[in-house]
């Protein structure tokens, strides 16, 4: 009994500590002055107006963030599908190596990968191009859709494929009518994971954008030396809300515990 309440206390404490800096940032967004205080002084909502409408720097940056996040997430999913499918359908050493290579950029320190991508785009003359930024993020987060799609493919009951075959379905029909629809929630989850992480990433973006354009997090990173401003806190709130919404949607329409590696739910 004591142990149980201790456990609950520990869980609650973890939640509070995890939320603490986020709450502080949210509170700081209400400051009316140029500096961050907590608790906020003279609370106002005008920082929201600045971030979303008034200041072109932030509005452009937000547009870039959205473009790059959606573009790179879509590209990552497109690249991840054949890799994951090869791993599932064929297996074997080669497919494992390919999947490992695809996941490598995500596992290594991003600053190193960012430096390397900076060199790569310099040689190709694409440094500072938005499309290069999209490809860079797609590569960095390729691991996420590879993992989620693989989980999805593994969750397909092989007897479903046999059943479809006995009903006259060729391999391509099986792919279209059984494999694709059954893995769709996992594909979408992979897309959203990549989307949210791309939205928040700035180190790799810093090296490949070469100051030609900027995203929201990159903009904050670049003005780091000048200190934080409440407008940045508004950006932080926006990003937290987006993340919460996306992951809630994944949890609502997909099996989040399963996606994170738990055993399949008992029916």
């Amino acid at each position: 009994m004591i142990l149980r309440s201790l456990s609950n206390l520990f869980l609650a404490l973890s939640a509070i500590l995890l939320a603490l800096p986020i709450v502080v940032v949210c509170g700081a967004a209400l400051n009316s002055g140029r500096t961050m205080f907590f608790p906020p002084k003279e609370p106002t909502l005008s920082r929201f107006y600045e971030f979303f409408i008034a200041e072109p720097i932030w509005v452009t940056a937000l547009g870039n963030s959205i473009l790059i996040a959606f573009g790179s997430a879509a590209l990552a999913v497109l690249l991840a599908w054949p890799v994951a499918y090869g791993l599932w359908a064929k297996g074997g050493r080669a497919s494992q190596v390919l999947a490992g290579l695809g996941s490598m950029p995500f596992a290594l320190p991003p600053i190193v990968f960012g430096v390397g991508l900076g060199f790569l785009w310099t040689f190709l003359g694409a440094l500072g191009a938005v499309w290069a930024g999209i490809i860079s993020h797609a590569t960095l987060f390729l691991a996420l859709p590879i993992v989620t799609i693989s989980i999805g493919l593994q969750s397909i009951d092989r007897s479903h494929l046999d059943a479809a075959a006995t009903m006259g379905a060729t391999s391509s029909v099986i792919f279209r009518t059984v494999i694709l629809p059954q893995t769709m929630p996992y594909t979408i989850s992979g897309f959203f994971f990549a989307l949210v992480l791309s939205f928040n990433e700035f180190i790799v973006m810093f090296f490949v954008s070469a100051s030609a354009y900027s995203t929201v997090t990159l903009q904050i990173f670049n003005s780091l030396r000048n200190g934080y401003t409440p407008t940045m806190a508004v950006a932080a709130i926006t990003f937290i809300v987006v993340s919460l919404m996306v992951f809630s949607a994944v949890a609502r329409w997909g099996d989040l515990p399963r996606l994170m590696g738990a055993e399949p739910a008992k029916p």
Binding site: A15, P82, V83, L98, L101, P109, G116, S171, L197, I220
Partner: protein
């Protein structure tokens, strides 16, 4: 043995299997080419550039010398003069990363263990919260902790307002804090300090630790725990004799992954660490795009960082395999 390939084998009489194989091969070759190009060439380029040298005012040129590596390990003036400046940065990289990774895993483990015991619904809610925190940009997290720890607001203010500072002075612990660099003459201070750096880094990877420990812990057979209870083991004994031994491999693996990730942390270090205690990733940044602008030297440091990460990963693997067998 896959059904798909079986079906294909059945569908194709032997003489047409080769043309089928060629049809299959093209997209396979394409995807290999794309993945190799995007995931591998950046690292190869860093390696190649690290042997070049800087040209004043004109960037850098290709070359083949170990001068950059020499500078990392013993300084540019070697053998006349030896400096450990960059090795010291590497040391701080490792120092922060190891402490923060272990701290995160040690606290995340009991949390994950308790969380996986909750209902699936509750787990879903927790996962949404954790993933949101995990995906939150480093700049925002540092921003939050910066406000919390800065001397004009946040915790130091709380200490002062509540009289905690005065109490600390009264009992004499304030001097101890000053010795540790956690106080100035008037109040406690957390910026800049090793404590703030490590705490923030640990916070940064804490959700990752939970996510990585979640699969093995949620698959842990709870009836095993119950069996141990029926044999008279208390909660702590069960943890020590049943859960921890089963979790040894995931625990070591998680610490290693977080450690490698933390080697690359940049913002938290620049904001919270003293100038003399900066890390190698800060120095890589400085060399490639910052003030010093010496791309080959930055590349060499990046390679040293990578090799360090690789060494730790291989060591961890080797240790795991040795203790497992």
């Amino acid at each position: 043995m896959s059904v798909i390939s079986d079906l294909d084998a059945v569908a194709q009489p032997p003489n047409t299997t080769r043309s089928e194989a060629r049809k299959w091969a093209n997209p396979q070759v394409l995807i290999w080419a794309v993945v190799l190009f995007l995931c591998l060439t950046p690292f190869i380029l860093i390696f190649a550039v690290s042997f070049g040298h800087k040209v004043e005012g004109a960037g850098w040129v290709w070359g083949f010398s170990f001068a950059n590596y020499q500078r990392v390990f013993v300084g540019a003036e070697w053998p006349d003069q030896v400096t450990w400046l960059y090795l010291q940065r590497l040391y701080y990289s490792l120092y922060y990363a190891v402490i923060a990774a272990v701290l995160a895993v040690v606290t995340a483990f009991p949390f994950t263990y308790l969380m996986t015991g909750l209902s699936r619904r509750a787990q879903s809610a927790w996962l949404v919260f954790l993933l949101s925190s995990l995906s939150l940009s480093e700049v925002f997290i540092v921003m939050g902790w910066d406000v919390l720890l800065s001397n004009r607001s946040g915790l130091p203010m709380v200490f002062k307002e509540t009289g905690l500072t005065d109490w600390l002075k009264a009992v004499g612990w304030f001097d101890v804090l000053r010795e540790w660099g956690l106080a100035n003459p008037r109040n406690v201070k957390f910026k800049t300090s090793v404590l703030a750096t490590v705490l923030t880094m640990s916070y940064l990877v804490w959700p990752y630790a939970v996510i990585l420990l979640y699969p093995p812990l949620s698959r842990l057979d709870r009836s095993m725990v119950e069996a141990a209870h029926t044999m008279g083991a208390g909660p702590w004994t069960v943890m020590r004799t049943v859960v921890l031994p089963a979790m040894r491999l995931p625990l070591v693996g998680t610490i290693l992954l977080l450690f490698v990730f933390l080697l690359g942390v940049y913002v938290a270090v620049t904001v919270f660490a003293e100038p003399a205690k900066q890390t190698m990733s800060v120095s890589v940044y400085g060399a490639v795009r910052g003030n010093t602008l010496n791309a080959p030297f930055g590349a060499a440091q990046a390679i040293v960082l990578l090799v360090t990460a690789a060494i730790f990963l291989v060591l961890g693997q080797w240790m795991n395999r040795r203790t497992a067998s």
